[in-house]
Symmetry: C2
DNA sequence: GTCTATAAGTAGATAGAC
DNA sequence: GTCTATCTACTTATAGAC
């Protein structure tokens, strides 16, 4: 998706805001136009259709999500360091865009066939390397025996879920705690990391 | 939402299926009618409007979700036992209805104002009791010092996220593993419980 | 490139026959 | 209670003026 002109960028930014919040079905071209401060017809002039505009936004979102995983799985680090990097990247990314997880998860569930290809080529390949690495570190005694896929799901769940459940988190913290919501999300970097370290400690 | 007649029940079941899969905006009354094997006009005869029908389904879903939390927080058990019960209930419930988490999370994000009241009265109250209980067990040395809210988010994330990410889990397991998806979800009861036990072990 | 006006199609809802 | 036919409103998309 090329974003040459200024107008095109303005539309794209407005579309991101509306689509990520309301979803494909809930979003209205009129609302995107209002958000962009221009006429509805212009959206079609630059992007032809609602579907095409949505695809642009969605591809960008998928890119942001898989960036976190891919970078981490490519680097030359140990299992624990990789997971820590993954946690840090996601907390930072999702703190700036809390709608991202639900937006992507929804579309994945709505059109799973689109992901067969993407997932098979990228994540599954990197995952294979990660699975092997876990086995090696288990055998060398660096970490204790674990099922790598369960481990990964545990970490992804701990990181991503609280952002998807933002309204609950927000209400609970405002009623019960003296800290801010933003601070709570930042704290999770340390919290989850400690959880990981303890869970993988071979001495336990 | 009363479901007296047989027809009413059939419609309600069809609506649950369509709404939970497509969401309020994505669902079509025609599709619900087709799923129910009857005419579109009948849906309005029994439920007046799409919005009212949706509310019925949604209240039921919220009930199922909060049942897991409330039962657990009411019972007279220790922290670890409560969390284990919570995990078991959720894995069983969500195994039968994998769309439930995303469905509820979406509506919560779309209309957070509706939850201010519900959450404030139910979950937040029970949570208070849970927070206090955690503090007590920490002081008595039964579990190691932890932030109770982070602990709860960790557990909820580990349990709920893999169901929301079903398409990913499904593809990964079918490509990499020799076990079935259903078995993977059942395994999580034990996996998460062990994670909890280790993380709360005061001797570490 | 940007706007106004409008076409074309769709979805929720209702009227009225049976 | 259940159906067919239809109304009304809304939404995407385009035509055409500027």
């Amino acid at each position: 998706m090329v974003k040459d002109t200024n107008t095109e960028r303005i539309i794209f930014n407005a579309a991101r805001k509306v689509f990520q919040k309301k979803g494909l079905d809930g979003a209205r071209m009129q609302e995107i136009a209002d958000e962009a401060g221009m006429n509805k017809a212009l959206l079609h002039y630059y992007f032809r259709s609602k579907e095409k505009l949505f695809q642009g936004i969605f591809n960008e979102s998928i890119g942001k999500i898989s960036l976190g995983i891919q970078n981490v799985f490519n680097d030359n680090m140990g299992v624990i360091e990789k997971l820590q990097a993954l946690v840090n990247i996601y907390v930072d990314t999702l703190s700036e865009n809390r709608y991202l997880p639900l937006f992507v998860l929804n579309e994945m569930n709505q059109h799973p066939e689109k992901f067969e290809e993407i997932l098979s080529k990228t994540i599954v390949v990197h995952l294979k390397g990660f699975l092997i690495q876990v086995e090696k570190e288990v055998q060398s005694g660096k970490i204790k025996p674990v099922n790598p896929l369960h481990l990964l799901m545990n970490v992804l769940g701990m990181v991503i879920f609280p952002f998807a459940a933002y309204p609950v988190v927000s209400i609970i913290i405002n009623k019960n705690m003296d800290s801010s919501v933003e601070q709570f999300y930042l704290e999770r970097k340390k919290e989850i990391f400690e959880f990981i370290v303890i869970a993988l400690d071979p001495k336990k």
